[in-house]
């Protein structure tokens, strides 16, 4: 069993600025409808929730070795299941994960006043 680890940190103010500058165009280019709905219901703040999800997407891209680190952010979806963050991959991201033999992905999110952090651990059940 091989383990891959990806991590990313995202400045929350950067996300806030992008929302202010580009509004819906920014949000819908990066986040899925499900993510937008979940973030809008976060009492701790939409911008921090969006930032943590962006960090999660970037963390995933760091373990997908397709050579195309940010092909489509919307193909990587963060979902909360019983309060725990999980990752759902679609399209090319899912195909690349399958090619790499990624069997499980575990996601951890953390957020401070200024930054959001995501760590992804992926387990490969066969060598490619």
């Amino acid at each position: 069993m091989t383990t891959l680890v990806g991590a990313d940190i995202q400045d929350i103010d950067e996300v806030r600025r992008s929302v202010e500058l580009f509004g819906d165009r920014y949000v819908r280019r990066i986040y899925t409808d499900h993510e937008i709905d979940e973030c809008c219901r976060r009492a701790a703040g939409v911008d921090g929730a969006l930032a943590s999800r962006f960090a999660a997407k970037e963390a995933i891209f760091k373990i997908l070795t397709s050579g195309n680190p940010w092909a489509s952010w919307r193909e990587v979806e963060v979902r909360l299941e019983s309060g725990r963050p999980t990752i759902a991959l679609r399209g090319a991201a899912a195909e690349q994960a399958a090619r790499q033999g990624i069997a499980t992905i575990t996601l951890s999110l953390s957020q401070g006043a200024a930054t959001a952090v995501a760590v992804v651990v992926a387990e490969i059940d066969r060598e490619q």
Binding site: E14, F22, E58
Partner: protein, 83 residues
């Protein structure tokens, strides 16, 4: 200097959050090595769309598309923006 390059530089300066001036970088300088982050690239992309009236399709949403002023210029050319 090409017609689109000054606008590309201005957009990078305003949206790229680079620790160096985008106005003085070479056209082939690697923007990521000069501090461009993936998130800042999103802002650059959206500002380019506003400035040039185009939309970057998924096929161009690659790291390489925004790695230099020249690469951005080529991407815009592929979208039909007059150089």
């Amino acid at each position: 200097m090409s017609g689109t390059v000054p606008t590309i530089r201005e957009i990078l300066q305003a949206n790229g959050r680079l620790p160096v001036s985008a106005l003085t970088l070479g056209e082939d300088d690697d923007l990521y090595q000069h501090g461009l982050t993936s998130h800042a690239s999103v802002n650059v992309m959206l500002a380019l769309e506003d400035a040039f009236g185009v939309e970057f399709p998924d096929v161009l949403l690659r790291r390489d598309t925004f790695k230099s002023v020249a690469a951005i210029q080529n991407a815009l050319a592929s979208l039909g923006v007059d150089q």
